[in-house]
């Protein structure tokens, strides 16, 4: 079965790698690439992100999730520079919750647009019912 793949962009290498590990537990078949940090330092790097996108590229599509500020600028630049980008979407979602939902949906074999929609809905997710 073919799955939508994920790219996790964080200012921290450890956050991106740790999140990938977490997601692999629930979605072992989904291809996930971590693009955290910039040359080992805190930051994001368009070239790392481009490599990550290309490493998990899937005909079914790829969702890129990011954490803060300049991560988006670098994700957009990476996408511009990537060779294959028609089926790549940058999701407007919180990184951890959004990626978790994306991994679940992708693991169910859902199409790209549904995975993007589901993880963007994570913005409205109620975490504590009062």
């Amino acid at each position: 079965m073919n799955y939508v793949s994920l790219v996790l962009v964080s200012h921290s290498e450890e956050i991106a790698k740790g999140l990938k590990k977490l997601l692999k537990q629930i979605a072992p078949d989904v291809r996930i690439a971590a693009a955290g940090g910039s040359d080992g330092e805190i930051g994001t790097n368009a070239l790392h992100i481009q490599d990550a996108i290309e490493s998990v590229y899937s005909e079914k599509g790829t969702v890129v999730l990011f954490d803060l500020g300049s991560a988006l600028l670098n994700a957009e630049l990476a996408l511009e520079m990537a060779d294959k980008k028609e089926r790549v979407r940058i999701a407007d979602a919180p990184l951890v919750e959004g990626a978790y939902i994306a991994a679940v949906e992708a693991g169910l074999g859902k199409p790209l647009e549904e995975v993007v929609q589901a993880c963007e809905a994570a913005k409205q997710m109620v975490k504590i019912v009062k």
Binding site: G43, N45, A46, G69, S70, L73, N74
Partner: protein, 204 residues
Amino acid sequence: MKLSVEQAKAWIDRTNELFQQQKQYLTELDQAIGDGDHGLNMARGFQEAVDKISSNRYEDVGTLLKDVAMTLIAKVGGASGPLYGTAFLKMSQALAGRQEVNDQEWIAALEEALAGLKARGKAQVGEKTMIDVWEPVVMFLREKGRLIAGEAAQLAKQKMEETKTLEAKKGRAAYLGKRSIGHIDPGSASSHLLFVALAEVVEP
């Protein structure tokens, strides 16, 4: 007047010298309203760019500027890397294959860079960003139709100083709201230096 590959290279060299000299100043501006790494980032990125281009021979301006762009994208942290990287990438595409660049081509390349910056940063004039320097300078050159770089650098200085009166709407500084008023935007200051270096190379 035509700009050669050597002059384009000299522009990057001179920009780097100015960033090394003004590293502390740019950092202080950024400490006031940002995360305080702008001077370090620009100084490091342009030093890397100079190291890269000084070890190569270039047949055309586009290839030279592309190497600058890719170095900045790879080495400059924060928003400055993708922003300046995009600006140089757009210029490199506009000047691909050009051994010499006339005024019109150079101005057109700066226009491409400005369009790239606005698209990448999703910023407009008045939001206390580098666009507050880039847009008026590029429009001025377009209007004059000649690369009068000295006057452009003077305008860049004036526009940089005017960012003091603006409230930040983009980036880390936007969290400060009205408290960002009274400080010069660090990105507008580094952009000003880029135009100063251009003037020194074009009109020595």
